[in-house]
Symmetry: C2
Subunit: 334 residues, 2 copies
DNA sequence: TTGTACGCGTTATCAC
DNA sequence: GTGATAACGCGTACAA
């Protein structure tokens, strides 16, 4: 509850509310002495501007809405954290929602996000319901879709091609002399980007005439345990498996543990490649070959795009797409 | 930018704006036919309520502000995610900030959080700057401090005693016959709760007359790599070390890897206990004995307290404290 | 049950 | 440089 208002500050400083408002936004447009008085009054009263009222009046609420599938996912936690920090530096508040990988849930989140008349809205991926796209188009808020590239973005996009990641992974395993490959993933039925990595992987196997290649899905969320389960499943179906791509480093870690448990040599018998370059990936045994997606870079680029669009000149109108790429990090597991 | 307003809906439905407003909040207080008309108009126009204006008028913005040290930390990601989901179900928006373990940074976040006239404000821990406490006291918003218990909360608190976690850990190692103990932690100089776990651990060692006990800190954030570094440091200072408590499962995992690398038997030669019960803790080799803090439960309880306070009767005035406790999960590493 | 009128705290446009 | 004044879109007595 707002106790002290701009009016109180104005009274104490013996100026009009408008002058206070002006000073708060453009200190230079006000005389030195008036400024000093206002400054003093603000501090003395402990005045905190009411951004709700400000947003109403200005019809632009320095709120940026971010919707990710799940903040528990380390990838998105990194990006959101970066975004939060970068945007806060420019005076933007971040309001965050988790879609739980559900397009309908995302639609609901977009709806309430829009009711804040946000300065910008950030979504994950390029796949949304028709209604979501319509609402977004109707609003004049800048929209950034992140963590995926490929299809046409609604407005702006920052990310990379997951299909290419799949290709990179397959190529690497083949380069290592592996010919009986498998892609194991978690939640492929919902995680569209993981599915794209799988597709890219399979396609490359097909194109290059790899002897055997399969794909296996664990319906639950990516986890170490999923990796242990998946390894056992695939070993039953492909006893001669020699190259394994995982949709997530967590899954890969589970695979490594299970290999160790069963005395399967990595990379002696099987090469393993992950995705994400998570915290542990460089330290585990054996250290994990993986693909780094640059989640922090995505966050920085998204923030830059938004700030440019809002504060910058209007020369950059629509259609901004930034490819942050990916990098294969070769370690001992392959 | 808000195109269609309540007025537009009212016109189309041939009723007054206040009737629309009433219907939107209490559908039963409006006649059937008026309701139908309004419903139809809302859908037809794609009306989205402007929460900014609503917040101003009602002087309560259905925004809940959450401030955690870092959303990258899996503990807090879990709690924030739960909170987000639970609160969204009751129509609250979550606006999130990271204090990066800095009290001054937290103060700045609280300041801007308050400028949204939030329905409630959720902080991590019980330690804040004087100015933060003052601002919070001045505002009439409900305040919940979470993930820590012990000192007097500003308003409400949900969490557990970290000192007790330290004691539990020490007791367990001693029970296992270990007498040369060490607590290794990351960021103890900033992470007050990790420091409390360390203090509880050391105090219990002192109280029970353990032969040797030390404490070691890695100044950077908790990580697997920190664990590998810390193990080497402590082994130099205590070659006969036989029991190790880690401030975080990530650190513990690093310790496990490094032990494996150096051929140190776990738990044969050294017992290892972690904290957090993270994703991998049950699946690693050996599986990790750890203390579970129930981060999701904390989220649920915080949400319940807030919703009760706001929508419930005022009988529960002040001083709500919920102890979510902790649980030792014994696995093979000890 | 429905409508009228006023106010929420701020911004923005003009005159002064 | 400064200060009235009119929105901004909606909640809420109060009256009808």
């Amino acid at each position: 509850m707002q106790r002290v208002t701009m009016m109180d500050v104005a009274k104490l400083a013996r100026v009009s509310p408008s002058t206070v408002s002006l000073y708060l936004r453009k200190p230079d447009a006000v005389s030195q002495e008036a400024g000093k008085q206002i400054e003093r009054s603000v501090r003395e009263l402990g005045y905190v501007p009411n951004l709700v009222a400000g947003g109403l009046a200005a019809a632009s609420s320095r709120v940026v809405s971010i919707i990710v599938p799940s903040i528990r996912n380390a990838f998105f936690a990194e990006t959101v954290s970066t975004l939060q920090t970068e945007l806060a530096a420019d005076g933007f508040q971040v309001i965050q929602g988790n879609s739980e990988y559900g397009p309908d849930h995302e639609e609901a989140l977009v709806r309430t996000a829009l009711s804040w008349a946000p300065a910008a809205i950030i979504l994950t991926g390029l796949s949304h319901t028709g209604q979501t796209r319509r609402m977004l188009a109707a609003s004049s808020a800048p929209v950034v879709e992140m963590w995926e590239l490929g299809a046409e973005p609604i407005d702006m996009a920052v990310g990379f091609s997951h299909a290419e990641v799949g290709i990179t992974t397959a190529r690497h395993l083949i380069l290592k002399g592996r010919r009986k490959l498998c892609f194991v993933g978690a939640r492929l039925q919902e995680d569209r980007r993981a599915a794209q990595r799988a597709d890219g992987f399979m396609q490359h196997c097909r194109d290059t005439g790899v002897n055997k290649f399969e794909m296996l899905n664990y319906p639950g969320p990516a986890s170490v345990e999923a990796g242990t389960i998946l390894l056992n499943q695939i070993r039953q179906r492909m006893p001669d498996l020699d190259g394994l791509a995982c949709s997530n480093d967590l899954v890969a870690l589970g695979v490594l543990f299970e290999c160790q448990r069963q005395g399967i040599a990595v990379p002696g018998q099987i090469s393993v490649v992950g995705f994400g370059d998570l915290d542990f990936s460089g330290s585990c045994i054996p250290s994990l070959t993986t693909v780094r997606p640059f989640g922090d870079l995505i966050g920085r680029e998204v923030a830059r795009l938004i700030i440019d669009r809002i504060t910058g000149d209007m020369s950059d109108a629509l259609g901004h797409v930034v490819d942050t790429g990916h990098a294969l990090i070769e370690r001992s597991s392959s």
